[in-house]
Every structure is written in structure tokens, then in C-alpha cells.
């Protein structure tokens, strides 16, 4: 849905390289765009996303910052209000909490609170998610929590196309957009159209069509959900997999169309279960297509613990294909 017909062939690339290409492209395309964050320049980015960009684009546009999350996020907000188009990189979602005051109290409020006199066309990128044994202060998935905030938009690119294409659309958006990149996706490789470009940022996508159940997910969990869907298919269960892509606003229409068809739904979300994005999606289904449902809505979320360091415990904390398969079967009445 997002990609133009491929004319100039495809390239083999990674999610990391796709994000890097998007940053490079945006900075070259628009003189108002610059990137700032911790270790984005000389170090090349904590996850090597921005490696090489400093040499290519210079220190004004690839700006290393002190460890002052609130300070440089606020500076991004001010610069955006004054006509620039900053991209702020926060190393991980856990560190973004140090900038939460600026994100919520300034970026999200200024347009409404000022009576539309000022807007904040700012993009904030950050890594999210568990799986690299980084323990309880580097592994959480708080994007659903950010999706609670009125005044910002929240994106979760899960594919190479979205990693490459969402950034430019977000930069052109007149309001603050947060982009969450799941750490387990950076090494993901695959084919991408050589001329891949901007994609929409307000529609969910059907990543696998099916008739028996809707599996609704986003970000790093998309690939686990697709794996689960393949397992289910081997047992003659055709699951439809929805990639939310945008967590705020949510594309209700795509979700409801799918659930109205399959009549069953499981939401897969790497955030904690209580007060989760999965809860929001589930409630919307209840509000809008309750009478179409044949079974209670299921959820596969993270266990309600701080993410632990050992690999076996970390894996047990976050959604895994086997759990998704089990939840889908439960929703299908133990088929």
C-alpha cells in the first residue's frame, strides 16, 4: 500500500541502513532539518544508525549533545517553533523519561494552549524494546504510554519500507511525531525498492490476510506474530495480521474491518498488560464491533516485571510466537 511500483529494482539493506538513508535524505532535501542526540556524531549512534553521517553532513546538521535529554529535547522544541525541522534522537525509551517534561508539557501542549499560534514540527526518534539482555533500565516498551498523550503522534515502523519512509512524512507533519524503533529490528535485512520513499503515517496495514482471527500488533512483535500466523496456517487456521504502524492516532477503520470479518481478535503488544495499548485497542473493538465478536478478545503482552537480564527470563517476559499461537487458539475455542 505504501510503496510505488518498483521501477529501478531492489536493493539488499537492513532496517538500520534504511533509517540512516532516511535521515541522510531528509537532511539533504531540506536545509531546516538537522539531527541531534547523544553520540549521534563521532560515535556513530548507540545502535550505529548514524554511522558515517557526521563526516558526510557536518557537525551543524549531525549534532552531538551532552547527556541532557530534557535540555536538548526542549531545544528541539524551541528550534521547531522557530522554523527549523529538528530530529531529536533519544538513545532509548528509558532515557526519554528524562525528557518527558518537555515532550508532554511543551511539545504536546503548545499548539492548543497557545490557541494555534505556535506549532512544534519536531520528530523524536528512539529505540525501544527488549531482547538484547540490557536489563531493566534499557529494555522497556513505553510507546503505548506515549500514545496516551494528546498532542503528539506515535509511530512504530516494523518494516524496511516504514523505516525508510516514515521519517520524511513525520518531518513534514506540522506536529510533534515520536518514532519508536525496536532494537531487535536494526539488524533485520531484506529487499527494499531502490527508489523507496515517503509512506503514509496514519494507516494500519494488513501484513497477512486471513479469515479466522485478527492478530493485531506493531513494531518488533510484528515478526513474531507473522511467525505465529505461519504456525497456525499449518494447522489450517488462517490468521489476519494487522500492523498498526501508527499508535496515535489509531486507524480504527482497518482494525474494525478486519475484526468484523474474522469475528475474533488477539492483540500483541510488548508493553506491560495493565493500562496498555493492547487494552486501548481491545476496548475500541468492544465499543465499535462488539456484536461481531464470537469470542472474548485475547491479549499477549509483556509480563508485569522489570525486564530482567538473563536471556531465558527476558524471553519469558516479552511476547513470543508460542504465546501468540496459544492465545489465538484460545480465542478460537481451543481448536
Amino acid at each position: 500500500m505504501q510503496q510505488q511500483a518498483v521501477r529501478s529494482g531492489t536493493i539488499e539493506t537492513t532496517y538500520r541502513e534504511a533509517v540512516r538513508a532516511a535521515i541522510r535524505d531528509a537532511i539533504k532535501r531540506d536545509e531546516r532539518v538537522f539531527l541531534m542526540g547523544e553520540d549521534v556524531g563521532r560515535y556513530g549512534g548507540c545502535y550505529a544508525v548514524t554511522k558515517g553521517l557526521l563526516a558526510e553532513l557536518g557537525p551543524e546538521r549531525i549534532r552531538d549533545t551532552p547527556l541532557s535529554e530534557s535540555g536538548f529535547t526542549g531545544a528541539g522544541i524551541g528550534a521547531a517553533m522557530a522554523g527549523m525541522r529538528p530530529i531529536v534522537e533519544l538513545m532509548t525509551v528509558n532515557f526519554s523519561l528524562l525528557a518527558l517534561d518537555q515532550i508532554l508539557n511543551n511539545a504536546a501542549t503548545v499548539r492548543h494552549m497557545s490557541g494555534n499560534q505556535f506549532g512544534v514540527p519536531l520528530v523524536i526518534r528512539m529505540a525501544t524494546g527488549a531482547g538484547r539482555q540490557l536489563a531493566a533500565q534499557h529494555s522497556h516498551s513505553l510507546e503505548g504510554w506515549y500514545a496516551h498523550i494528546a498532542g503528539i503522534k506515535v509511530l512504530a515502523p516494523a518494516t524496511l519500507e516504514d523505516a525508510r519512509g516514515m521519517l520524511w512524512t513525520a518531518i513534514e507533519d506540522p506536529d510533534p511525531v515520536l518514532i519508536f524503533e525496536n532494537v531487535m529490528l536494526y539488524n533485520m535485512s531484506g529487499k527494499l525498492a531502490a527508489d523507496a520513499g515517503p509512506v503514509d503515517i496514519d494507516k494500519a496495514a494488513v501484513r497477512r490476510p486471513g479469515r479466522d482471527i485478527s492478530l493485531i500488533t506493531y513494531g518488533g512483535s510484528l515478526w513474531k506474530t507473522l511467525e505465529a500466523a505461519a504456525t497456525l496456517a499449518a494447522e489450517n487456521i488462517e490468521a489476519e495480521v494487522i500492523d498498526l504502524r501508527s499508535l496515535r492516532p489509531l486507524d480504527d477503520a482497518t482494525i474494525m474491518t478486519s475484526v468484523a470479518k474474522t469475528r475474533r481478535a488477539v492483540v500483541v503488544d510488548e508493553g506491560w498488560r495493565s493500562g496498555s495499548l493492547a487494552a486501548e485497542v481491545g476496548m475500541r473493538i468492544v465499543e465499535q464491533v462488539f456484536w461481531a465478536l464470537d469470542a472474548p478478545i485475547g491479549r499477549v503482552c509483556s509480563e508485569e516485571v522489570p525486564v530482567p537480564y538473563p536471556s531465558h527470563l527476558e524471553n519469558a517476559t516479552i511476547p513470543q510466537p508460542a504465546k501468540i499461537v496459544a492465545a489465538a487458539k484460545a480465542a478460537l475455542g481451543g481448536r
Binding site: T65, G71, G78, F118, A150, K153
Partner: protein, 334 residues
């Protein structure tokens, strides 16, 4: 040869204007206090009583194209900057004719026309914003000065230190103005700061700094001329601590249990309007009838502002969710 940019203009006309601006703020806020007791104004409201010399001494030294960020005790800054009193009063009422469509109230006055980037009610929250406004100017090759007003309470926030460091590190044209009224809400400076000589903190970030008697409008203006000139020429930050005192309560909900009435009384004779007026009179620069005229003009302006606010309208509830995000069919500020 032109006069050095940092010398105050001591013409009689200018002196009268300084007095007039301070009286405007005082009379506006006296009226706000009255309107608050009548429940025309609600929410939190923080008055500037005693601190007027700071806004009046600094803001007219800035140019129209310069940018201002303020905190939540910002009625004075907005009025001196030229946000019409009518629109400020309508904002106090919450009417849609207010400078922020009535959505911000006392603590969130915004005005694009005068580059007034808002009252920020998270202590310290405006400083990073000012750094960003300055960063944009730096990257755009401009020559603006970004004036950022905050209180002594902000000095304890991490954002204060992050912002001073960033501004100095990147060479950004921010004039940091600390309005030190000795209390962070009800906590005395000595109870919250290990170093109470606030301007000294700027030296840690290699930022030029000075402290000035913030209740002496002529001294504030002289310091502001030095400061604004320094920022404009050097493209580096500058730190100005204005030492002052808040004669009224922190907000309308404050019983002032944390300070003695006697302490307030020792400060009252130092307050900027009486002091400046007395100085002008003893130097034969003003006649009592001129003071009376200035006061009458201020009262008339306040009266007009109240009438404007009273006649103002409530934003229709149907528009509640408008401008949470940009409405691309409506021309926005940006």
C-alpha cells in the same frame, strides 16, 4: 558618533515612560486581584507586585524581532512587550478574544505578533525552549537575542543547568534573566540553594554574568543594555540576576506562612514604583499632576481591558478539540 548602545537614555520623556509602564502593570494586576475575588478570574494567578522594574527595565531594550520566553508570573512581561492589555485581560477571563484564545489563562500568555513564546508554568521548563529558539537563530544565521525570564526556584532544576551548558557550549544568543525574589513559592532561597549568590552559577558554564538591584528600574535598564548588547555582538549567552522581592503572596492560594509580615514591610519602601517616583520628584523631573495623569491613563486602559474581557465570548464547546493538532484548513502560526 553614536552613543554607546549600552548607555541608558536619561531623557525626561524616557523616565516618564519607565514609570508609566510600571504603573500600567501594577494597576492591571491590582484589578486582576479584585476580579479574582469576584471569581471573574480563576485558577492559579501569580502577581508581579514589587518586581515590575525587571520587565520594564529589560524588555524595551530588546528589538521587536527578538524573542521572549517567560514563566508563569508573566503578566508584566506580556504587557511591556506590547501584547494588548485587552487581550491579556480577556485571557485572564478565559475568553476566546484572549491572547491564547482563552485556553491558557494567567500562566500561559502567548503572542506570535510580538514574538512572545509563552508563559511556561513548569518551573525551569522554558529554559530549554529558549535555547532552541536561539539554536534556530544560530543555524539560520540571524542576529536575534532570546530573552528568557525565570525565577530563583528554576535554578534548582536540572533544566537550568542543562540549558546554561548547552547555550554556552554551542554559543547561542540567550539572555538568561533570573528574577530572584528570594522564594521558590514558599521555600526561601537559603533553604534550597547551597550557593545563594545565583549569578555565580553562570561562571561554571563560562557565561558572563552580573547581578543588579531588580527594584531599581534605571539600574536594571543599564544592566539590560550591557547584557543585550553583549549577546547581540558576541552571539553568546549572558546571565543577568535581578534581585527583587515579591510583595504579594506567591499565588492567590498562599497564606504566606513561611515569612513574617515584618519582613515584607522592610521591603515595601524599596518597591520600584514608589522609589522611582520619589527619585523623579526629588530631582524635579516629574510633577505630581503628571503622576496623577499617568495613573488615570493606566486606570482608563485597565477599565477598557475589563470592558473588552467582559464583552468577550466563550469558545464554543464544539471547538474544544480544535488545534490539538494542526488543522490544515486553518492558517496556523506555523
Amino acid at each position: 558618533m553614536t552613543a554607546p548602545a549600552d548607555k541608558p537614555r536619561l531623557s525626561r520623556e524616557h523616565m516618564l515612560d519607565l514609570l508609566k509602564q510600571m504603573i500600567r502593570i501594577r494597576h492591571f494586576e491590582d484589578k486582576c486581584y479584585e476580579l479574582y475575588t469576584q471569581e471573574k478570574i480563576r485558577g492559579f494567578m501569580h502577581l508581579y507586585d514589587g518586581e515590575e522594574a525587571i520587565a520594564v527595565g529589560i524588555i524595551p531594550v530588546l528589538e521587536k524581532r527578538d524573542r521572549i520566553v517567560s514563566a508563569y508570573r508573566e503578566h508584566g512581561h506580556a504587557l511591556v512587550r506590547g501584547v494588548p492589555m485587552t487581550k491579556v485581560m480577556a485571557e485572564m477571563y478565559g475568553k476566546q478574544e484572549g491572547c491564547s484564545r482563552g485556553r491558557g489563562g494567567s500562566m500561559h500568555l502567548f503572542d506570535r505578533a510580538t514574538n512572545f513564546y509563552g508563559g511556561n508554568a513548569i518551573v525551569g521548563g522554558g529554559l530549554p525552549l529558549a535555547v532552541g529558539l536561539a539554536l534556530a537563530d544560530h543555524m539560520q544565521g540571524g542576529d536575534l537575542v532570546i530573552a528568557c525570564f525565570f525565577g530563583d526556584g528554576a535554578v534548582a532544576e536540572g533544566e537550568f543547568h542543562e540549558s546554561l551548558n548547552l547555550a554556552a557550549l554551542w554559543g547561542l544568543p540567550v539572555l538568561f534573566v533570573c528574577e530572584n525574589n528570594l522564594y521558590a513559592m514558599g521555600t526561601a532561597l537559603a533553604l534550597s540553594e547551597s550557593e545563594t549568590d545565583i549569578q555565580r552559577k553562570a561562571a561554571c558554564y563560562r557565561i558572563a554574568a552580573e547581578a543588579v538591584d531588580g527594584m531599581d528600574v534605571v539600574a536594571v535598564e543599564a544592566a539590560a543594555r550591557r547584557a543585550v548588547h553583549a549577546v547581540r555582538e558576541s552571539r553568546k549567552p549572558y546571565f543577568l540576576e535581578c534581585r527583587t522581592y515579591r510583595l504579594r503572596a506567591h499565588s492567590m492560594f498562599d497564606a504566606q506562612l513561611y515569612r513574617d509580615k515584618a519582613e515584607i514591610e522592610t521591603w515595601r519602601p524599596k518597591e520600584p514604583i514608589i522609589r522611582f517616583q520619589g527619585w523623579l520628584q526629588s530631582n524635579h523631573m516629574i510633577h505630581p499632576e503628571e503622576v496623577a495623569r499617568i495613573e488615570a491613563e493606566a486606570d482608563a486602559e485597565v477599565e477598557q481591558a475589563v470592558a473588552f474581557a467582559e464583552a468577550g465570548t466563550w469558545e464554543p464547546v464544539e471547538q474544544l478539540t480544535r488545534f490539538v493538532y494542526a488543522d490544515r484548513s486553518v492558517p496556523a502560526g506555523r
